[in-house]
Symmetry: C2
Subunit: 196 residues, 2 copies
């Protein structure tokens, strides 16, 4: 059950009170209005406790968001491509079905369009790290001869996440198992593999 | 050439100096920090000129964004499904390749996750209106017997927009004709139609 694993990962990352406060504050006010003071107040901690861990607001946010988001994408390739792609899509679904992440990610994407430094850090520490897990699934399928080495991996990886983001954060509508199956089917088609 | 039409629509909507100022301000500072004062200053107009047209900041933003976004989705169904779906996807691509819209849309989506009133208005005045054009293309294909009436239209319409949004606004990467073709192929597959 990949979604259960992803949810367990989400929980494991938020045992820390300061991390919780960063996530709550980010979900409530967004990156632009988030301050070290606000996080310290919410965490009932001193600002010094925050600065001991992170040199800046951006570092704090990236560290906390990457800590929640990268493990949520962890998928170890099996020898079953359909199961692996389903795990990837279900992982995105679990990640964005988290009430806080469903607010935090669109806010960071919006901020990144205006802030190139945040954009680069977000790509490096969250995007590229998450996509590495999907790429490993594709590479394993190529190595088994199930998928052509000419496949457009970039597009396949986009397809694993984009419809889920759009449904939850773009249209504020629900996902569900039938929706996840449709996304998996689209990704398999883009991999040049026919579904079940 | 659907993308040329969409771009002409984008231009036709922005001949007005105040509308230009709303779009510039929204792209630069986002909905949260946008003020009637800021727009008036940028437009070199009085605030009274803004309040004559719109009763509130939210009304102003929605009117301007809908005025740019809804005509950009206008597609009249032909008898060629591949051409129609290509026009829809190219329309989304032209819409989000506009430098201002690529900042404005993610910002409004982020804001909508925190502001249910804005969310409802955005769905009604932009989302539903834009999706109506795509639904008409699907309905015409169903009427011609090319697509099953059981098709998951909601998912197909998600697929027309989601990968384009994700590539441009989620990953800050380029699109291009080959990418548009891939999105069209995904949408046709979801329609149960094999591509070219």
């Amino acid at each position: 059950m990949p979604s259960v694993t992803a949810k367990a990962n989400l929980r494991a990352q938020v045992t820390d009170g300061i991390v919780e406060a960063v996530l709550d504050e980010l979900a409530d006010v967004g990156f632009g209005r988030l301050s070290m003071d606000g996080v310290a107040r919410r965490a009932r901690a001193g600002k010094a406790a925050l600065y001991r861990r992170w040199p800046s607001k951006q570092e704090m946010v990236l560290d906390v968001v990457a800590g929640l988001s990268v493990p949520a994408a962890a998928t170890v390739p099996s020898d079953d491509l359909v199961a692996d792609v389903t795990a990837l899509v279900a992982g995105v679904d679990a990640w964005l079905s988290d009430v806080r992440m469903s607010r935090i990610l669109p806010d960071l994407l919006a901020e990144a369009m205006r802030n190139p430094e945040l954009a680069d850090a977000l790509t490096r520490r969250v995007g590229t790290a998450r996509r590495g897990y999907g790429q490993a699934v594709i590479d394993a399928a190529i190595a088994r001869g199930e998928v052509s080495p000419d496949v457009d991996s970039e597009y396949v990886l986009d397809l694993v996440a984009a419809p889920v983001f759009w449904r939850i954060c773009g249209r504020r509508e629900q996902t569900g198992p039938a929706f996840v199956d449709r996304v998996v089917d689209s990704a398999l088609h883009a991999l040049g593999v026919s579904a079940r």
